[in-house]
Symmetry: C2
Subunit: 348 residues, 2 copies
DNA sequence: TTTAGCACTCAAGGAAAGAGAGTGCTAAAC
DNA sequence: GTTTAGCACTCTCTTTCCTTGAGTGCTAAA
């Protein structure tokens, strides 16, 4: 059977109507929406065809039609009109991204909340480095006999620091030696390699310095490993409860638990600026009845973030896609503008 | 009318039964649970009295009895047997607090999740300084001509640092002057005062240094203000959906939105190690039908944290109280052990 | 003061009936 | 061949009514 233009148009109407009302769409309503150029009986014939072809489903014999995942897919690929954001909306997005440039994590979690509250679905957000994070530079600042501050600059120019308590007193004069050693042997290499090298220099360094050295490396390894593992933040899960498809507490609970406990299995496509996954296209079982829209944004050169929203398959794809890519652009701009000064290597 | 011992015992049975089943408790069940020493008819008489006295309520004429807030209050104050944690439970709590001592924020949010998942109710957690945070020491590390790292140690010995981009080139030789200035004029004072002093020194400092100085102070003010404002983390809101009193999506949504949006109005008592607020004893409207149990824990000398759980008035107060104080103790121990080295002032 | 007995109340659950939305099919019209 | 009007049919949803059963309140006796 052929998918005529009229069939497509009807499909479009069904999808858009159903997205709004969450109620099966009847032939009469479709006829009305199409301007009365054809009668409801004609529509009925077409609808029957569309059901046969798998684009629509019928909850029961005497109900209207509901789009199938295949129907949504066609809609998203061909029928949907790409929406443009209104100036007001763009304005609002940018406003909600007027974040002080603090720590990356914090910015991200705030952005996640902003996305969720603007799109009205639960959102998740993450920043992932394309490669393992390494240290670029170390510095030790003596505080007193018992403690010193370790400062580490990472590959992405973020700086982390902490107070270290010294187990053994260390002569302040020896600090520079240690810093030189740190910067020459422990920068630009993986955490495994750092541990390795620590072992290697063990004998060349006086014991009380070695203790401090290994504390420093332990700290560095911790921070680096945490930084290179993607942290996923979710926000706005409670938005689900407003949707008719999640009025059932069990369903809502299942999805919300998934969102808060098993974030790792949320879709993380590694290509393209935006991806839409409809119902069964999702791998995770918990998402089989939901759709996910994910967009990516850039953080400097070698990092990349993802923002996604999760909603019912009956999702307003056009609006969500438009807004989400608005946010992605906003974040790209945000990071491009303020962070990551020119990347000259500064190892001495 | 007098509150005889038997009445109290009956009240206790009603509360404990209702806590478990969430169903109104009938006279027959109570009689059975009391060992058959009295008949259900006698219980009925007593129940009628307890209703008159306001300790119990009757959903409708022919239903069993349900504790009123006043009844819960009496139960919590007098009747409840303080539970001790089993060794296994203590073990489990300590295990879940085996957190690497990273940034305070991160520890706290992880602890919040642990609390929630161990107690099975939504939890909130916060760390609040008793006083405004101040800077204790500054350091500037030149990176290259365009940037330097600012390191600041705060009053609680936490260290924060960030890369600053310089608008104007700064002579490296001049840095020490600036550091001395920072440490002599901008440590130990409020952020307002810092801004004030910045204005005062404006004329005594060469312009290109002043720019860097003001960037540094701006960063410091940001960090300090953020550190002294209580951040409240909530976790496990989805636990609500398992409870029969929140099967209704609207109710659940209302409370969950409150928990995620208006955290500031969660109960934050400033005295005593533990506080239990039952139903209408809560100030916030959104919590009028729920109970809150809050415990406090210590972080070093001048900071103090709060963990609370939110649940239905029908909450297993004995267990929750025991577990929560187990967590509070665990956190106190955690912070006492690792953080905050001896507090000698190290300003030069 | 306690208890047995009994009539009474009320929510919850199920069956039956009616309403309404929408379909599928047929036969006529274009 | 396609479109349309007409009509019987199907199925859900809502309402109503009835039944059931847990639990009470009251009375009178122990």
């Amino acid at each position: 059977m052929e998918l005529t233009d009229r069939k497509k148009q009807i499909l479009k109407v069904v999808v858009e109507d159903y997205i709004q009302t969450a109620e099966p769409v009847g032939s009469k309503a479709i006829a009305a929406e199409m301007g009365g150029s054809v009668s409801s009986a004609t529509i009925r014939n077409e609808l029957a065809d569309l059901v046969d072809m798998g684009y629509l489903e019928q909850p029961h014999t005497s109900a209207g039609r509901v789009p199938s995942p295949k129907g949504y897919r066609l809609y998203v690929n061909e029928l949907m009109e790409r929406q443009k954001l209104s100036i007001a909306e763009t304005e609002k997005i940018n406003q909600s991204l007027q974040l002080k440039m603090e720590e990356l994590d914090r910015v991200i979690s705030q952005a996640g909340r902003a996305v969720s509250s603007f799109i009205n679905y639960p959102a998740y957000i993450t920043a992932t480095g394309k490669q393992k994070m390494t240290a670029r530079r170390f510095e030790l600042l003596p505080v007193d006999e018992h403690s010193c501050i370790v400062v580490m600059m990472m590959g992405d120019n973020r700086v982390k620091s902490q107070l270290l308590r010294l187990q053994l007193k260390v002569d302040i004069e020896q600090m520079p030696t240690l810093v030189t050693l740190l910067n020459s042997h422990f920068t630009g290499v993986s955490t495994d390699e750092m541990n390795q090298r620590l072992m290697n220099v063990a004998e060349q360094v006086p014991p009380q310095l070695f203790l401090l050295l290994s504390q420093t490396i332990a700290y560095a390894v911790d921070v680096l490993e945490e930084a290179s593992q993607r942290e996923i933040v979710t926000a706005g899960a409670n938005q689900l409860l407003k949707l008719p498809e999640f009025r059932d507490a069990d369903k809502a609970h299942e999805l919300m638990s998934f969102l808060s406990d098993s974030k790792e299995s949320l879709p993380m496509p590694d290509d393209g600026p935006m991806k839409i996954l409809i119902g069964p296209e999702n791998v995770s079982d918990a998402l089989k009845d939901t759709s996910v829209v994910v967009a990516s944004y850039d953080i400097g050169d070698d990092m990349r973030g993802l923002i996604g929203v999760v909603g019912p398959t009956r999702m307003d794809y056009a609006t969500v896609a438009a807004r989400l890519s608005g946010f992605a652009d906003g974040l790209t701009r945000l990071f491009g503008k303020q962070e990551l000064p020119p990347k000259e290597d500064t190892k001495e």
